[in-house]
């Protein structure tokens, strides 16, 4: 049984737009779905969820070998167990926050939602109505409501769209934590330039209703939790190639992530939070300065850095030649607890 979500669609939606694509998404970790607006990202997610089917559509969807749509049989949206978070929160305005959270849970025989309430800091909001919630709070409730229904896959359709930078920064850590802790695979619609793309294990690129390609995970490092300081975890970059563990002795970062001792954390590093210099930059305000080697000066997918044995793609490197020593200043990271084996 393939651990994938396989699909083939031919959906004529207007004179100028037809979604015509087929593909297979691995059900491990986070798959970003990226493309210009109007390219069909939302249409794809809604079609996969079985929403707005029309006569004349050709649709075939298989989830872990089970037919959701097509000749193999049809599964209605309510039986697909998708945790769908839309661009706007669409909270149920005639219910309290707690009733919103329990709506899906009740229908899937889930009684304990404490873990989700805690992970998303929703306890103080529970008795409130949804009208008075701030934008960031409403997004957290929408995310919690989807997670509380015990989904087997998450569909996140730009769940932070419309929030200003401050609100985004407020919700982002919750989102990263929830996605990491839920241990369910996620499809995440986002703009390629978004910081959130840093969370993705791979990116499906879409243009004009068709798949235009796949992109590997952007720059990230795997670290292990070696201690705690306040709410934060102290993470040490793992040596990927089994080199001397002492090599990572100085490579410790204090990261706002909730993870236990010994657990792995995936540290996504946004493009603009990564500085590469030929000489050690000296004491500075970066989270960490890590030694690295240029593994490939100009590989087929661009330059590749070797950081403690972890090979990661970067946009550009200094002209020092392959094997050349460089220093990596990491200005900030987007941590994601790594509870599954999505990187193995």
């Amino acid at each position: 049984m393939a651990d994938t979500l396989a699909f083939r669609f031919h959906l004529e939606r207007s004179a100028s737009f037809t979604l015509d694509m087929g593909g297979e998404v691995p059900l491990r970790g986070v798959t970003a779905v990226s493309g210009p607006s109007g390219s069909g990202k939302t249409t794809l997610l809604r079609a996969l969820a079985g929403l707005d089917a029309r006569t004349g559509d050709t649709a075939e969807v298989r989830f872990r070998g089970q037919s959701w749509d097509g000749p193999g049989g049809y599964t209605p949206p309510e039986a697909r167990r998708i945790g769908f978070v839309f661009q706007e929160p669409y909270l149920f305005t005639h219910m309290s926050v707690e009733q919103n959270l329990r709506y899906g849970a009740k229908r899937r025989d889930v009684t304990a939602i404490d873990g989700i309430v805690e992970a998303l800091d929703l306890a103080p909001l529970l008795p409130r109505g949804v009208d008075g919630l701030s934008g960031g709070e409403a997004r957290r409730v929408a995310l919690g409501r989807a997670l509380a229904a015990n989904p087997q896959v998450l569909f996140l359709d730009e769940p932070l769209s419309g929030l200003d930078a401050d609100r985004k920064a407020e919700v982002l850590p919750y989102l990263a934590r929830a996605v990491g802790e839920a241990q369910v695979p996620a499809l995440y619609v986002t703009h390629a330039t978004d910081e959130i793309a840093t969370l993705a294990d791979r990116t499906l690129l879409i243009d004009k209703g068709r798949i235009s390609g796949w992109r590997a995970a952007p720059f990230h490092l795997i670290a292990g939790v070696v201690g705690h300081e306040g709410e934060d975890a102290i993470c040490e970059i793992l040596t990927g190639s089994g080199e001397d563990a002492a090599a990572g002795a100085g490579a410790r970062l204090r990261v706002p992530v909730r993870a236990r001792m010994g657990e792995r954390v995936r540290l996504g590093v946004p493009r603009d939070a990564l500085l590469i210099s030929v000489a050690h930059p000296g004491p500075n305000s970066a989270l960490a300065v890590l030694p690295a080697r240029i593994a490939e000066q100009s590989g087929p997918a661009g330059p590749v850095l070797d950081v403690f044995g972890q090979r990661q793609p970067v946009a550009t490197v200094p002209e020092t030649g392959e094997g050349g020593r460089v220093w990596l200043s990491v200005l900030r990271v987007l941590p994601r607890p790594e509870r599954d084996d999505s990187d193995s």
Partner: protein
């Protein structure tokens, strides 16, 4: 002379009409609010016709439809032994047409104000379409339900022209308040006309106040 038979008959007519019309209008308005079918504007126009047609026109066609010479009227006559015209049943049928837009339009508007994505969210959370209708759509559209029921009831009570055409003026069977007022004025019984007219005036004013109060609160709670 007691006015009670007239008032009682009027209330019965309004209540029965409201119940039947709501049972029909809820699924119909839901369909109108969601369908992409090309026939929709046509059905919306038909639904709204009673708003613009003179009641005499509507009454005339209903009279033809229900007369013992027509297939429907003949069928009714052979089945029950009574004519459909100038009967209480005939009044109910006429009222169903006459008050149709007052039931359908508030419901349709309320259903359209419930975002499709809110319903989709409920579906992905495990609700069947039926479950989502009762747990999400109906509570969110509750003001539309109240408005539709109240307006249908009130409008049926105030009906005159259509009733005169298909029901006539038979005490205990088709003589409703509005007809009674007409009869009273014709016979110069202004006292009766005053009592019934003032009653209808106050009733209608209260009903409209309730409807507008409901709608004032309704506009702000979408999304």
């Amino acid at each position: 002379m007691s006015l009670w038979p007239v008032i009682s008959l009027t209330l019965q007519l309004a209540a029965i009409t409201t119940i039947i019309l709501m049972a029909f209008a809820i699924p119909f308005a839901w369909w109108l609010a969601r369908t992409r079918a090309r026939i929709r504007p046509l059905l919306e126009a038909v639904t709204s016709l009673p708003l613009v047609l003179p009641p005499t026109v509507l009454g005339f066609y209903l009279l033809i439809l229900m007369s013992p010479d027509s297939p429907l009227g003949a069928l009714w006559l052979s089945a029950t032994g009574e004519t459909l015209t100038f009967s209480f049943t005939g009044l109910v049928i006429a009222s169903l047409f006459y008050s149709l837009p007052f039931a359908v339009q508030p419901l349709q508007t309320a259903f359209m104000a419930v975002p499709q994505t809110t319903i989709d969210t409920a579906r992905t959370l495990g609700a069947t379409s039926r479950d989502a209708f009762f747990s999400i759509t109906m509570p969110l559209a509750r003001r539309g339900f109240l408005t539709a029921a109240v307006l249908t009831f009130a409008h049926t009570i105030g009906e005159f022209g259509v009733i005169l055409m298909v029901g006539g003026n038979i005490p205990g069977r088709t003589r409703v308040i509005s007809i009674e007022i007409f009869t009273a004025v014709e016979t110069l019984d202004y006292a009766t006309a005053h009592v019934l007219s003032a009653g209808l005036l106050v009733f209608s004013f209260l009903v409209l106040t309730v409807v507008y109060a409901l709608n004032r609160n309704g506009g702000t709670r979408i999304g």
